[in-house]
Amino acid sequence: MKRKLLLTLLLFSMLTALCACKGGTDQGNTPDNISSGTPATGGEIVVGITQDLDSLDPHIAVAAGTDEVLFNIFEGLVKPDKNGNFVEAVAESYVISEDAMTYTFTLRENVKFHNGDTVTVEDVVYSLKRCAGLLDVQDPNVLVDSALSRSIAEITAPDERTVVLKLHQANTELLPYLTCAIIPCDYDAQATSPVGTGPFKFVSYAPLESFVIEKNKDYYGTMAYLDKVTFKIYASSDAAFLELMAGTIDIFPYLTDEQATQLSEKYSIEVGTMNLVQALFLNNGVAPFDNVKVRQAFCHAINRQEILNMLSGGRGTIINSGMTPGLASYYNDAVTEYSYDVEKAKQLLAEAGYGDGLEITITVPSNYQYHMDTAQVIVEQLKKVGVTAKIEPVEWASWLSDVYKGRDYQATVVGLDFNLAPSDVVKRYQSTASNNFVNYSNAAFDSTFAVALASIEEQEKTTAYKELQKLLAEDAASVYIQDPALLTAVSKELGGYTFYPVYVQDMSLVYFKESQK
């Protein structure tokens, strides 16, 4: 008896501790425009990131989590702005010939690398060739940008300030790829001590600990406000959140909805989008998803609004096909929409011969909690139409190797990121594409894609891309879900935090508000 009483008491005290944990302050979660306030120059901040950098060499790094940080150090000939346009960076101006076969760039005068050297045409030619895999001796660690390697025939420098790209075929969509970082041609310590031209320069990097950058005082463009930014690397979002509660981080960009509601008053929450096509991707090459009716049934069976409600407090942008509204004029919002309809889904499944139920496996990269959570909601929703789905969590490297490269899976939940070129988002659905991991195959798609890519007439191009999205929706290539909301905690002392239509953390715009200083 005594034992029982003690146990109860203990349990009770533990529960109380738990509740204290959960409660927290409930204020501060109303979106607040922090971009106000007069900017002050100077100051240092700490930004939390949850992914270690995969390389400091911008041409070797492939992780989105690395690119978003290196954006502050490196620039290409052009760079994206917050509206998705490409503005001149190392180049002062550029001309795309009318036949879209030649790109001519004029370099800005006196752009300095962080090591003090002036950027020369040799550096630019070297950097572009390295990205495009055109160097005589190519480092196999460098990921060759296939869009560049396929398009570029020749890179030349007719004079000290001009770089000319000649293409194999007309391509008006190459600009987004020319954000490829310009680095010095005779410098071989890029992976340990990176040198670029951006508004910040590299200070130090300790694997698993931190990445530190400071203001580049010789920057040609608008000078950054902050003197120093420390990107602190966390093992998990939970570890980072604990520090956020303690107030030692100024900006943290990967809040979960649950964390957002517990955030203290010190922070405001900025809402952007992740710029991902999140979907339940279906392997069109294997049963049961080789049957279009089954794929359509899944589209009807999944309640996307409910996913948004459960995972991100209703935030996020629902998509019906393979592009997101981030692609502006190319985005087609008038494709077939699969309404949430349990009866219709059941009927389609019955027509496909799965009236008695169906068992499938959803393989999910377990390092992405968001996709894992999405898969869990999906499993519950599928139960209602008689589909028993099992989640198989795998590590990222296994996912890459088995699912993405090996195409050995039935269904998977993941988010695909993309460059701002519309072709980059949908090129994987060509039947012969090496990264067509959904095994989608439609002759009409292939021919329309060829038209879209080769077209130099904007109207024709836009129409073709819209048609492609329509085809993907009609064929129910996969169950497209959303472009997820990105919740970022920003200290209320700061202003200027800006979302981009690509995955970057631009620290050059962030400032301490004058009154706070």
């Binding site: 034992r3 940008d145 698993l208 093992a235 570890a239 604990l242 509660m245 490297a397 890459l400």
Partner: protein, 311 residues
Amino acid sequence: MKFIIKKTGSLIITLVIISFLSFLAFSLIPGDAAVASLGMDATEADINALREELGLNRPVHVQYADWLLSALQGDFGVSTQYHLPVSELVVKRLPATITLAVYSMVIIILVSFPAGLLGTRKPNGAMDTVMTVLSQVGMAVPQFFLGILLTFFFGIVLDWFTVGGYVGVQENPAGFFRFLVLPAVAVAVPKCATMTRYIRNAVVAQKKQDYVRTARGKGNSEKRVLLQHVLVNVMMPVVTMLAMMAADVLAGSIVVEQVFNIPGLGRLLITSISNRDYPVVQAIVVYMACAVVIMNTLADIAYQKLDPRVR
């Protein structure tokens, strides 16, 4: 002398077997360093070129033999992700992990002996029940959860502890040693609970032995019986248990390093596994195996000291 040679020999054989097994396991899981580091956009040709460069396209036994030969000469290669020498990466992370392990072991020893003995005066008495319940709870709490609770309570509610305030031992030794106390508690609590229970049971069992009755019969005080007779006999299995716990403490610190964001070996190991950075993984596996084998050897030596019969 003979003893040392024998132990060193078995250490080397153990290490070779363990390193081979981990190498083999690593080659069996899907994905390799080339796939992991080139990511989604790489073509088959890109991946093969990098495999060639890293030597990953050779048969496993050749790769292992190559690795072993260099490792025997003290060269653990270069990390495929960080492009830094593995020894440098590992050595920089040792102070945190070793300090954490030593702290945890000290806490385990300091807490579990008195706690284990508390209830043995009156087995199943009030104190014994309290200790049993406490150790039950202690064993049941996962370390990562305890880590979060501790951080929340001491770091945020009481503000006695700077959350995420880890500093390197060279930069600020005092801060370094202070910071690691709380993570060590998180590692140690479940182990303390197990140990407390173990000691309690061993003591209670010993007390039922005839020699205890004899010792009491000779007119020894209860305290003297406990310290001079019972404890000496209890020490043998307890030392074995402690040595086995060293391995658990290492495993526990991997989890706790994640929660407290300590850039130690555990985090390096997890990151390296997901990046398929085999040179780093191999080096850490060898280090950890070494640590466990050495702990066991120390236990053997302690055994001899404690019991002259084992010589």
